[in-house]
């Protein structure tokens, strides 16, 4: 069965330090992978996606993510965290074999708190 896991409910990091939000996936075929961020009382905002090509994907607001096929992971990273990065982060995957049905499988989210 297709699934996405975000193993940490919450991540705390000091401002200026690097941050990592973890995501692992399980699909039958090759994956399309997405990261979204949700600020309080706001909708989901697209950060970045991996479709094919370079395993390191750069996205909005200085975020990047690395696709690791052997570890079935797609961790979100940022070299230097800002207090304004505090939000809820969601990882999602779409199985390439069923790409046309456009259905995303979502993780449960990770709450990131960046402390000043």
């Amino acid at each position: 069965a297709q699934s996405v896991a975000q193993p940490e409910d919450q991540v705390n990091v000091a401002e200026g330090n690097p941050l990592t939000v973890k995501c692992t996936y399980s699909v039958s075929g090759n994956p399309y992978l997405f990261w979204y961020v949700q600020y309080p009382n706001r909708g989901l905002q697209f950060l970045l996606k991996y479709i094919t090509g370079d395993n390191l994907v750069k996205g909005s607001y200085g975020f990047e993510a690395e696709f690791n096929k052997s570890q079935t992971s797609f961790h979100l990273k940022k070299p230097s965290a800002l207090v304004s990065d505090s939000a809820l982060y969601f990882c999602a995957v779409r199985d390439i074999r069923t790409g046309n049905n456009r259905k995303l499988i979502w993780g449960l989210g990770t709450s990131l708190a960046v402390n000043p």
């Binding site: 997405f34 706001r42 909708g43 989901l44 790409g99 046309n100 456009r102 259905k103 995303l104 449960l108």
Partner: protein, 116 residues
Amino acid sequence: EAGVVQSPRYKIIEKKQPVAFWCNPISGHNTLYWYRQNLGQGPELLIRYENEEAVDDSQLPKDRFSAERLKGVDSTLKIQPAELGDSAVYLCASSLGLKGGTDTQYFGPGTRLTVL
């Protein structure tokens, strides 16, 4: 470019009352999605439209929920009658509808429904 527009942003109703949510997708986006998001969870797909056709409504509780997308642009999601368990954030998203499913879903701000 305008994003996905939803209204209202907030709605409070008593149980057994009807409620409707409206969504205007990004111009040129053929695919429209309605999601429900409960507190602390990821989005749950309710229905997906390709133009005016509902192509995936397997998760839509059809006894009380209905949706339409006349003319393949705006969409309305209705609940009648509402139940206490319907309290959630209802998100609308849209995407280009690229063949192969590589397209990105862009979300509106959501409607927070509270059923008393």
